[in-house]
């Protein structure tokens, strides 16, 4: 009798089935709204492209030790490096060597791991804390709402990268500092988003009807308002992933990542090459393209999620 709760977590109301004339007929169109959203995503070519890129990226990150031809820290080919010549792509090293004589392809493959971990963790942390704050404001309203929203306004008034830089400067050079630095500017975005959509949902009749039935306030918010306010969060999260990956690369490009020079991270790899740009342009191209393709994949997929969940764009 019950359908799975999970399957319906991303539903939005479907204005399509307004067939009031078929009242005598039993029950119409037994497809769930979540499945409808999934179907829309599958049908969208952008989503298929974006999804494939993301899947490829995740597989590369997961199976890096199997895929990489060499150890990314191995400097065995150091003797081939000259001030005026860093070997480019060859059959032995498809992406060439880097300035320290390491295999560039292996480093790109391992770099996917760092980007995935940093991107996903920072987004999850930012979205989670943001959602908690937004929930607080949306659930209580009144002065709690005003206070929380003024604080997020202050956070929003500081440019994201500047905020991230200051945070990284305080915490010091490490992978954790990048994660925190990327996560924090996300907090006010998610807080505002959830609060706004909760305020919108609260005005709807089904909330008034639950209230008139005598539902307690906590269950009113947690059972009715909150689950119905999550769709915009989901869209924002899938779009913010690409920004998180770019921001993380930017921060490590600026030298805020791990102090260990052996760590393979795309942004860091770009920094290392700036000095050799003329001698070895491949060292800038490969990590740059890797960042671009991954970010593009998440962006395309995020757009598709937004289109699938936006009732105004339903065809």
């Amino acid at each position: 009798m019950r359908l799975s709760r999970k399957a319906t977590l991303v539903m939005t109301p479907d204005p399509g089935s307004t067939g009031a004339g078929d009242d005598a007929a039993d029950v119409v169109r037994p497809n769930s709204l979540g499945r409808e959203g999934l179907r829309r995503i599958k049908r969208n070519p952008l989503a298929v492209v974006g999804g494939s890129v993301i899947l490829f990226f995740i597989l590369v990150a997961l199976f890096a030790p199997l895929l990489a031809p060499f150890n990314p820290r191995d400097i065995s080919w150091f003797d081939q490096i000259r001030p005026t010549r860093i070997p480019g792509p060859s059959t032995a090293h498809w992406f060439g060597l880097d300035a320290a004589g390491r295999d560039e392809l292996s480093r790109i493959i391992y770099g996917a791991r760092a980007s995935l971990v940093i991107g996903v963790l920072s987004l999850l942390i930012g979205a989670f804390i943001g959602a908690m704050i937004g929930l607080l404001a949306g659930a209580f309203g009144g002065w709690v709402d005003s206070l929380v929203m003024r604080i997020t306004d202050i956070m929003l008034s500081v440019p994201g990268l500047l905020l991230a830089l200051s945070i990284a400067a305080v915490i010091g050079q490490s992978q954790t500092s990048i994660i925190v630095a990327v996560a924090v500017p996300n907090i006010p975005l998610f807080a505002r988003l959830l609060r706004g959509s909760m305020l919108g949902e609260r005005q709807k009749d089904y909330v008034a009807s639950a209230e008139s039935v005598g539902v307690r306030r906590r269950s009113l918010v947690m059972r009715h308002v909150f689950p119905n306010s999550l769709a915009p969060m989901l869209v924002q999260a899938s779009l913010a992933l690409s920004t998180a990956i770019i921001d993380a690369s930017a921060l490590s490009f600026l030298g805020l990542g791990s102090a260990d020079p052996g760590v393979a991270e795309w942004g860091r790899m770009l920094t290392d090459t700036t000095r050799y740009l003329r001698v070895a342009p491949h060292l800038a191209i490969f990590p740059g393209v890797a960042i671009m393709i991954t970010a593009l994949g998440f962006n395309l997929f995020g757009e598709a999620v937004r289109e699938a969940l936006d009732p105004k764009l339903r065809r």
Partner: protein
């Protein structure tokens, strides 16, 4: 018995960047008295924006009351807060206008119907499932509907789910806020008749809010006509439709089409000029004087009280007696099939 006395609901209009400053109020409901005896149906009619829905919501305390009292049986709803209010609400339930907005899209029918039962601990364990099936039966929905979600149903079916939810709390009074106006005409009759059957079976009292005069005549025992936050006329359904005393009621009735081309072409019509004035800045004196065809000087300065013009017939017009004399008995308004 529901008694509403001098109910006022004013929504503040605020201005200001940092601190809200109250600069005025929308007088959505401005001094309404209603009485509904047990088992009866009161129809509350009026055009959109006149505050009739707000009256319904105010009775359930879904909007804050500015002043006035709402008493149901021995409980003064308007004096309750918190847990006491939550428990007291069980006796008074509401059916909402828009069946597409009034059901949580993420809850299946079973959990929509079980919620009032659980929250008031009316049944326990397996008895809840039995009760859900019973409720579905009583509104004529198949038992298989329990596992489905609101979007899988048509408008009429959804409205019946809304009715079943209201019944789940085992109320004595049901406030039906335009329960059929969002539905197809062909479905309206089904739902209205279902409401009438349920009233008989369960001994319910109804406050039936609507702008559809024909449907109100069909279901209501008494009718109250509302204009700009106040009641302008109230009497039995029979008297109101045959012998209206307030100029506003006259105008409303003359807008109801009559399915007889000869009567329709020859009858005298009172056409209302202009729009409903803003309840934030209501006209002086009689609220209706800006649109009334019988307007005189007195109407501009003095607000008429709702008074008993004839036995069992209240109207808020200074000249109700003259109107009673000048208007011949009107042709009956048709009932919808």
């Amino acid at each position: 018995m529901l008694t509403v006395r001098d109910l006022k609901v004013h929504f503040p209009i605020t201005k200001g960047v940092f601190f809200d400053r109250v600069v005025g109020a929308v007088r959505a409901v401005d001094g309404v008295d209603l009485t509904i005896p047990d088992g009866a149906t009161l129809g509350l009619v009026g055009e959109s924006g006149c505050g009739k829905s707000t009256v319904g919501k105010a009775i359930l305390r879904l909007v804050p009351l500015t002043s006035g009292t709402v008493r149901f049986d021995d409980v003064e709803l308007s004096a309750l807060h918190g847990e006491a209010l939550r428990t007291a609400r069980r006796k008074v339930q509401m059916i909402f206008q828009d069946p597409y907005a009034s059901l949580d899209p993420r809850q299946n029918v079973e959990s929509i119907l079980a919620e009032p039962i659980r929250t008031h601990a009316l049944r326990k364990g397996a008895a809840i499932d039995t009760r859900v099936v019973e409720l579905l039966d009583s509104v004529g929905l198949p038992r298989t509907a329990a596992g489905r979600y609101p979007h899988e149903f048509s408008g009429g079916q959804r409205q019946r789910i809304g009715i079943a939810r209201a019944l789940a709390a085992e109320p004595s009074l049901i406030i039906a806020d335009e329960p059929v106006s969002a539905l197809d005409v062909s479905i309206q009759a089904q739902v209205v008749n279902l409401l009438a059957d349920l009233q008989e079976q369960l001994d319910l009292t109804y406050l039936f809010i609507s702008h559809d005069l024909a449907i109100v005549r069909h279901i209501a025992d008494d009718v109250a006509v509302m204009y700009l936050g106040g009641i302008v006329e109230t009497t039995s359904a029979e008297l109101l439709y045959t012998r209206p005393l307030h100029p506003y009621t006259l105008a409303l009735l003359s807008a109801v089409p009559i399915p007889d081309p000869i009567v329709e072409d020859t009858r005298r019509r009172t056409v209302l000029e202009g729009d409903l004035p803003s309840p934030a800045n209501p006209p002086s004196g009689c609220r209706f004087h800006t649109r009334c065809v019988y307007v005189r000087d007195r109407c501009v300065t003095e607000r008429p009280e709702l008074r008993e013009v004839e036995p069992g017939h209240m109207a808020a017009c200074h000249f109700a007696e003259e109107i009673a004399v000048s208007i011949s008995p009107r042709p009956a308004v048709d009932q919808r099939p």
